[in-house]
Symmetry: D2
Subunit: 359 residues, 4 copies
């Protein structure tokens, strides 16, 4: 059934396979009169695109975005915005060896069972290449949010190595190829990852997202809560296995006294909070604090070491994946996570307008 | 905007406040010809209902379910199934002291900001009382899943104390008031929780859910993945701050070799897996393995110790909550989590039927 | 699959069978802070309820509405509004003779084929009794629309007899039992209908709806156009076989010159139109003119004259329906059509708020 | 808000403006393993494309469809099918004269009010050019329906001139440029239309659609009835002002005896009907009879004769449209109507699979 759309009032639909001629996204529900050019979108694409360091896949894609509709004389019209990205560096031959085998930990087997057909070339539709479309949609979502709302992300853990939060510097994130918010940790991670890369192995990671400037009141209880929608959005990203908000799983160890984010009246008659265990969301509605979400990314299943598996004919066999892959896919998941969070917020910003009887 | 419905082909809509005359749920999309009586639903309600031990709120509710529609001569008709549960033991007076104050860590403040009105009696719509309706819907979902698919849950952590997995016994879960799968741990937790209860405090928890017998193929990539929908479902439960599938956040520390669940051909031409880091879901589609999900529940924000807060008039004040509350709301979250997982699975079972051109 | 909900941001879900204990509706997405009592809803119910004249079924139902949720201290809270209506005068025995036969022109046969089960008592879920819930939802929708927007309806044709438009008087509609906007025509229709009633026969009708005060700009092209949603809403009413907007089917005979509703600037910088062939909708968006829609209602299929049919056993047989039925169901369709139009408008009023970047 | 998608389980999303670089559609929910090539789609496009006779607009578009995704090795994969159609013959200069004026009877004014911006070039998004995407989606829908279900359409009325039903011949429809099912009438219409064309005027029409081979049981009461969805689908087509099913508005003049489609048992234990006033739908569910729907198409508002209007500056003015337009847009609406009906049926075929507990 139809399942390639995300969002409600602000909704995007993606299409395209890893090794098809192009991928794309139709973005529906963007308000009119917002200035938008391809230059607004491209920088976000560039942050996600592959082949930029030895820590990401060597596939070379310029990921140039073309706007095909929805913009007239430099501004959005309210009509759907169609974005097209051509695939340039697909090497389907790399996949000949594994076309009849299922990579353990990959969607190969389940796609085969569900659909009875498998586009083995680069993973087809299940490839993380699809996430380029999410980043493009996220760029448009940011235009809706406006400059007052920022959505940023960083890798906070690779393997067992966590970032030193005392040294957190958002400006550092774009300065190293690991999306690490701390230069010192970044250097350590680089050494660690280099070994993994040379061994043809891979490793997991944790990404943290922070949205600042989000007004209180976004989120629609009971079943379209802001945190529910964030959880859904982030869990839909390839290789994500966990999502948490604020203190997340650590909340299990907190007492009611510790967990309660106490409140005091602040400037402009807006209360402020003395802590942020809630991650900016209470009862599914934004509180005005920073929204903080984290997600865990499993290691890429395409590795060099042979693993036991089965093939389409139902026989036991081994598999070793020689294609071009990310040793730590979590790194490139940062702009994707940011984009999904931006899309959820843009959607809820529009949804919230219908809450009050008088606008 | 409308946001009180959950699900797609199998969809339920809940209504009702904690201290209103009744709460209820309309379950839409249940296939016809399924035998269904109130007795099929009541046992699941009884597992969640309050007042059954000193570790849960002392509010006394029989939570008797009445079927008002959708069943004729003992079987479902395909029409919506309306279930009604009367509120019997609401004590709105308990809330007089806090009606103008916002409990830190609670939805009081955000509901006030969003809606400009607050039903302070027992939390109104934001109360966990709403989850009784989810359990009722889950009971119907289990009938759709049939006896071959089981959905079970247990508390695996309270505060810093984790269950001993070596002693896991599903039969034990219903035998102790803590939904703990290990009698020895249950006794330890009871002592620990008793202290918390006497101090008028509260503590967080982690719940684990396991669905067995789920066929491979359920889940609709890209944006209605099975794990996305589970994440959304569980995060929508009151007080939940994190969701993970399979190895979850621990995946961050796994190498590609460790994470890969190797496969061998098994009986009936169905492959089996040598491990289950995936938690039964690959690429958003069930693999035929057990589906394993966990969620973190924060401590109840209604505690006796005074906390700093503000009131509706915008003044700083203190608050201490004296109502009847759960010292560890995670315990009663077990049947709610099970119900939500059952509803997601029933929905996807129906959705999957439309995937293949020929049924 | 789930299909008992109508609307998007303002959405209601109905449940209940003709001869079950009760019917009801959960109205989701109503903005908060709107004054609402049962007295606001009841007058609209009374217009639809049966047994008020010899021209409608003699079933006696008080159709008293109870508000079970969503209202606190006399105003809406933003939570779902649950309304309950008890069934009081179901006579299931009347249907014993036809329980195994399919009434020609009725949903008996298709429900049987689709669901494999048939609640024969008064038509079960397929009964027009369900429309009482629509009228209740419509009453809430009118509160959202506010006093500036009115939605009115009248019967304009019964059998071959059309109303005299020169004598149209909206005040007359509530003064006669036929919802006719012209007293003279009403008297003629009464004589005509009396014959039909005595013969145990039935006759079709056309209903016209007019919404005044609707601002320009409502409607969401391309696929959620205002007229698309109106067409869907009206066609979903029992026995409706056609829907038209403005000049409707007569447009086929118009030239471009005749059809063009010419424009002149009017007061307050708002243009006015010199005619209304468009029925107030251009390109799926309201123009600020009156919205005019008509729908055709077929005659009730429950008639005394024996008709050829088949039974559940697959045998040829005859059927004659002796229950209490409406000789012209179109009369009672007037408040139902009004309610559906009000619901569509309320939904689009809320939807439109998300269109512009700045509210 | 997002509103450019149609359908539920089988859902398509269109994008693109009349004078942009391209238009396109993403078709989501198509089952896998269906053979599909561009050659399957093109013939349907060719039936709709402009410039094929003097009775349609002289804009020259080849309307060549490119498949960009969702097909692998000649069959569908279950992934979204992206189709692209380039615009080749846009003459935006034709619109310079009217860029600041609103054509009476056209969406110019309402788009301006709603969005605050107007893509005047060929009507932008409101252009009937968008319907090319519907025809492409309809071609895929037909593949899902399979050869046993046919969806055909014909013009049955142009201006006051109705087709002679006694001479109805489906094979004739493709033989004349007017989509008329009767050669004699076609010739008369041609003469009539030629005058209208030479005068720079336009005229309305009625189109009839017939779907044969549709199994009984499709349609989801109460609010996703098959006829509701058909009404919505057809009313969403540009210039459509009315929709009716079976006897439609003529039902108003029928007695219950006349309207009842009597039943007799037929071959294969399937009942047949002695008439088809219902148009193949009872209670919102298909009965197994032919599904018959008609829709009224108003005359094109782009005409040569000056009409009174206003402009963006709020001044009274006159307008005369000199672009290339259809004298009777109803002719080219035939393949569009067929496509929408095919899409509704394909969607409901997939939906119906989830109805029964066991597939």
């Amino acid at each position: 059934m139809a399942s390639n759309s995300f969002g409600n009032l602000f909704r995007f639909t993606t299409w395209g396979e890893s090794h098809g001629p192009a991928i794309g996204v139709a973005i529906d529900g963007c308000p009119p009169l917002i200035p938008l050019t391809e230059e607004d979108i491209q920088p976000w694409m560039d942050r996600r695109k592959p082949g930029q360091s030895k820590f990401t896949t060597q596939r070379q894609e310029s990921d140039k975005v073309k706007i095909l509709s929805g913009v007239f004389e430099g501004v959005t019209t309210g009509a759907p915005i169609s974005l097209l990205i051509e695939n340039e560096d697909a090497r389907s031959k790399d996949y000949d060896d594994i076309k009849d085998k299922f990579r353990p930990g990959h969607a190969d087997y389940t796609y085969w069972v569900k659909y009875g057909i498998r586009d083995y070339r680069g993973g087809g539709r299940s490839s993380a290449r699809e996430t380029a479309c999410r980043v493009a949609a996220g760029a448009v979502a940011r235009k809706i949010l406006g400059p007052g709302i920022t959505v940023r992300g960083a890798v906070v853990q690779i393997g067992p190595h966590k970032v030193d939060r005392a040294k957190w510097d958002w400006n550092e994130v774009g300065q190293n190829p690991l999306n690490c918010p701390d230069a010192y940790t970044a250097a350590e991670w680089a050494t660690y990852l280099d070994d993994i890369r040379k061994n043809g192995s891979s490793i997991g990671a944790v990404v943290e997202l922070v949205a600042s400037g989000v007004p209180a009141g976004l989120g629609e209880p009971i079943y379209d809560k802001l945190d529910s929608d964030i959880a859904r959005a982030l869990m839909s990203i390839n290789a994500v296995k966990g999502v948490e908000i604020g203190s997340g799983f650590a909340s299990a160890e907190l007492s009611g006294e510790e967990n309660a984010d106490e409140m005091r009246m602040g400037e402009n008659d807006i209360p402020h909070f003395l802590s942020n265990n809630a991650g900016g969301i209470l009862g599914g509605i934004s509180s005005g604090q920073d929204i903080v979400a984290r997600f865990a990314v499993k290691p890429t299943s395409s590795i060099l070491t042979p693993r036991q598996t089965v093939n389409k004919a139902g026989q036991n066999t081994d598999i070793s994946t020689k294609g071009r892959h990310d040793p730590c896919i979590g790194i490139r998941a940062v702009p994707v996570g940011e984009a999904m969070l931006a899309c959820v917020l843009a959607d809820h910003l529009l949804r919230h307008r219908s809450t009050r009887a008088k606008a």
